[in-house]
Amino acid sequence: MSAATRSWSPQGLAARLAGGALRVFLVLAGLFWLLPTLGLLISSFLSPTDLNRGGWWQALSAPSRLTADNYAHLLSNGTITGSLLSTVAITVPATLLVVTLGAFAGYAFAWLEFPGRDWLFLIVVALLVVPVQVALIPVSELFGAIGLFETTAGVVLFHTAFGLPFAVFLLRNFFAEIPRELLEAARLDGAGELRLFTRVVLPLGGPAIASLGIFQFLWVWNDMLVALVFADSAHPPVTVALQQQVRQFGNNIDVLAPGAFLSMVVPLVVFFAFQRQFVTGVMAGAVK
C-alpha cells in the first residue's frame, strides 16, 4: 500500500478534514482577536477626512493614505503627553511601594514568630477579594480630611493598599519555600533579620518579586476607576484624560485612536518583554 492510497483511506480523509476544520476555526478565531486592535491601529494612522470617508479596511489597499499626523498632533498637544507623565508618576511609586512593603510583610509572615501570626495572615487572605469600590466613599472622605484628595500621593497610597493583600500572599508563599537550613546557617553566622532579609531572602525571591512587580505595574498603569475618583483632575493620568474624550466618540477617533495606542505602548512592551513573569503573576493571582 503506497502512502498516497493510505492517506486517502476513509480514516485518513476524516483526519485530514478534521485537521482542516481545526485550522479554519483557529484562523477565524485569530482574526476575531486581531481585527479589533488592527482596526484601531490603522484608524490611528488615517486623517480625519479618510476616517469619515469609509472603513479603515480600505486603507489596506491604499497604504499611501497612512499618515502619522494624528500622532504628531497629539504629541504637540500637552494634555496627552502630560497625562502620560502623570501615569508614570503614579505607577512607578505604587509598584515600588507595594513590592517593598509586601516583601517585608511576606518575610515576617513566612519566617518571624509572633503571636496571632496565622490569624493575621488569614485576614490578609480574606482581603484579597475586597472590591476597590467598597473603599471609594470612605477613602475619599479620609483623604479629604488629611489633604490627600486629588493628589498623586493619595492615588499611590490607595493602589498600594489594594495591591498589598496579593503582594503579601504571593511573597509569603514564595518565601516560605526557601529551605530553612539556608536561613539557619545565616543566623548562626550572626546575621540580623534585616541582613537575612536583604542578603538571603530578597535574592532568592527574585522571580516572585519580578512577577509581582510586573503585575502591579500593569494593574496601576491600566487603572481608570481609582484615578477617576482620587487623581488630581487638573493632571489626570492617561486613562482618565482619554475617557474624557470618549463622550463625543464619532467625532474624535483621530484623537482617541492614537491616544489609546500611546497609552498601550508601555504595557505592551512590558508584556512582551516579561511574558513569563506576567504569566506566573497571573496564575498566582487567580482567585483574586
Binding site: 478534521a18 485550522r23 483557529l26 485569530g30 482577536w33 481585527l35 479589533p36 486592535t37 482596526g39 484601531l40 476616517l51 469609509g54 472603513g55 479603515w56 512593603l101 509586601g102 510583610a105 515576617a108 509572615f109 518571624l112 509572633f114 495572615f121 488569614l122 485576614i123 487572605v125 480574606a126 482581603l127 484579597l128 477579594v129 475586597v130 472590591p131 469600590q133 467598597v134 473603599a135 471609594l136 466613599i137 477613602v139 479620609l142 497610597l157 493598599a161 498589598l164 493583600p165 532579609f197 491600566n222 481608570m224 476607576l225 475618583v229 486613562t239 475617557q243 470618549v246 466618540f249 464619532g250 497609552s263 498601550m264 504595557p267 505592551l268 506576567f278 487567580a286 482567585v287 483574586k288
Partner: protein, 437 residues
C-alpha cells in the same frame, strides 16, 4: 538562674519588635484604606444622603425599589452567568486545540495580548468595532456583508416614476406599467430620483429599446439629463441606465417571466410576457440594510460582554493550558489505543482532570465580573448607560454624580462586598487546609 530567663524574655520581645517593624507599614495601610472602609461603608449605608439622619435599612430597600438599580442588578446577574462561562469555554477550546497546530504559540500570544491593555483602551477598540455605520464599524461591515450575500440588496432606494410615466405605483412599494405589454414591442421604463453618485459602479449610458419579434424588450433608465434638455419618457443620449433592476411580467396576479436589466439598461422577456404588465418589484427600492444596532438598548450588554470575553479568554486559556500540561499523556494515549475518539478523550478524561483548574478560572472571572466598571462606562454611549448599567457603575454614578447620595452608594458597596464573601470564605478555607498539610 534568673539571668537566662530575663534574656529569653528580652529575646522574645526583641523578636516581636522586629516582626512589628517588618509588618507595620503594610498593616497600617491595609487597616486605614481597606479594613476601615469596610466598616465605614456598613455604617454609612445606614444614613441618608446628608449623612446626618439614621435611616436604618432604607437605603437597602431603595436598591430593590429603584428601577435603574434593579436594571443594574439584573445586568450584573447576566454578566455573571454569561461572561465567565463563555470566556472559560473559549479558553478551554483554545488551550486544547492550539496544542495541535504548529503556530499554536503565536495564536496564544494574540489571544492573551488584550490582558496587558487597559479596559479603557479595549473600550475604545470596541467602540470602533461596534460603530453603527457599516462604513466604520467592522462588526456591522461583516454583518451587512453576510446579510447582503443571502438577501438580495437593492440599489435604487429612492427611484420613482416621473410625471406622465408609463409606470404607476403598485401595492407594497413596487411599480407597474399602466397598460399590458405586447410581444414584439419595445417598452420604455423611465424612473427618476436616483442621485447620480448613488448609481452602481460601472453604470453606462442607456440604450434606447429596440423591438424584437416574438419578444418583449425594453429599457429601464434614469429619465433625467444632467444640465437639462432631456425629453420625458425618451432615452436621451447622455441618460444613465439603471443596471441590475429586476423586472417581472405579471399576468392575472402571477409572475409569468422575469429579467434583469443589463449594464445599458436593456432587458428581454420571452413571448410568455405577451399581455402581461411589467412590474419593478419592491425589492429594487428597499432602503439599504443598515446592520445591527450593537450599542442600542437591547444589545448593548451582550456587546460589552463580547468585549470582555475578548479581553479575558486569554486568561482562561493560559491557566487551562498550564493545567493541561500536567495531564499525563499516557492516559490520553491509552484511551486512544482503546478506541476512544478525540471527543470522548476530551469529554471523559481531559475535562474531568481539568475540573479544579476550570473551577479556579470560573471563580476568578466571577469575582472579576462583579466588579466590572470601565468597559461598560467606556463602551456604552451616554444614552444607553441606564440600559447597560451594572452594580459597580451604578455605585460610581450614585456616589460621585452631581446629586450624589453616598448613603445609597455605600449600601451598593456593601452589597458588592456581600456578593464576594463566599469566595472570601472559600479562599480562607483553602489557605487553612494548605497550612495544615
Amino acid at each position: 538562674m534568673a539571668a537566662p530567663d530575663v534574656s529569653r524574655a528580652g529575646e522574645a520581645r526583641r523578636r516581636r519588635l522586629i516582626a512589628a517593624a517588618f509588618l507595620l507599614p503594610a498593616l497600617v495601610l491595609l487597616g486605614a484604606l481597606v479594613v476601615h472602609p469596610i466598616g465605614y461603608s456598613l455604617y454609612r449605608s445606614l444614613f441618608d444622603r446628608s449623612g446626618d439622619t439614621f435611616v436604618g435599612g432604607a437605603n437597602y430597600a431603595e436598591i430593590l425599589r429603584d428601577g435603574t438599580i434593579r436594571t443594574a442588578l439584573g445586568n450584573t446577574a447576566l454578566w455573571v452567568v454569561l461572561a465567565p462561562t463563555t470566556a472559560t469555554a473559549l479558553g478551554l477550546i483554545f488551550a486544547v486545540l492550539t496544542e495541535r497546530v504548529r503556530w499554536g504559540t503565536a495564536f496564544k500570544l494574540l489571544v492573551f495580548m488584550p490582558m496587558a491593555i487597559s479596559m479603557l483602551a479595549a473600550g475604545i477598540i470596541f467602540r470602533l468595532v461596534y460603530d453603527q455605520d457599516p462604513d466604520r464599524g467592522v462588526a456591522n461591515a461583516v454583518w451587512v456583508g453576510v446579510h447582503d450575500t443571502f438577501a438580495e440588496s437593492s440599489a435604487f432606494p429612492k427611484a420613482r416614476p416621473g410625471r406622465d410615466s408609463p409606470l404607476v405605483a403598485a401595492p407594497g412599494g413596487a411599480f407597474e406599467t399602466r397598460d399590458p405589454v405586447r410581444a414584439g414591442s419595445a417598452v420604455p421604463l423611465p424612473l427618476v430620483g436616483v442621485a447620480p453618485d448613488a448609481l452602481p459602479k460601472g453604470t453606462r449610458t442607456a440604450r434606447p429599446p429596440a423591438a424584437e419579434p416574438g419578444k418583449v424588450t425594453g429599457t429601464v433608465w434614469q429619465d433625467f439629463t444632467r444640465g437639462g434638455g432631456g425629453r420625458t419618457n425618451t432615452v436621451d443620449p447622455t441618460e444613465q441606465a439603471l443596471a441590475g433592476m429586476r423586472i417581472e411580467a405579471v399576468k392575472d396576479g402571477r409572475v409569468v417571466d422575469r429579467a434583469t436589466a443589463g449594464s445599458d439598461g436593456t432587458f428581454t422577456l420571452s413571448a410568455k410576457a405577451d399581455g402581461a404588465r411589467l412590474r419593478l418589484p419592491a425589492s429594487n427600492f428597499r432602503e439599504a440594510y443598515a446592520g445591527v444596532e450593537w450599542l442600542g438598548p437591547t444589545l448593548v450588554t451582550p456587546a460589552v460582554i463580547g468585549a470582555y470575553v475578548w479581553m479575558w479568554a486569554g486568561f482562561a486559556m493560559v491557566l487551562i493550558g498550564a493545567g493541561l500540561a500536567s495531564v499525563p499523556r499516557e492516559l490520553l494515549e491509552a484511551a486512544r489505543v482503546d478506541g476512544a475518539n478525540e471527543w470522548q478523550v476530551f469529554r471523559r478524561i481531559t475535562v474531568p482532570l481539568l475540573a479544579p483548574v476550570l473551577a479556579v478560572v470560573l471563580v476568578t472571572l466571577v469575582i472579576n465580573v462583579m466588579k466590572i466598571f470601565d468597559l461598560v462606562f467606556v463602551i456604552a454611549p451616554g444614552a444607553v448607560q441606564d440600559d447597560a448599567n451594572v452594580l459597580a457603575l451604578q455605585l460610581y454614578r450614585t456616589s460621585f454624580g452631581t446629586d450624589a447620595d453616598q448613603g445609597l452608594g455605600s449600601a451598593i458597596a456593601v452589597l458588592l462586598l456581600v456578593l464576594v464573601v463566599p469566595v472570601m470564605l472559600y479562599n480562607i478555607r483553602r489557605m487553612r487546609r494548605e497550612a495544615r498539610r
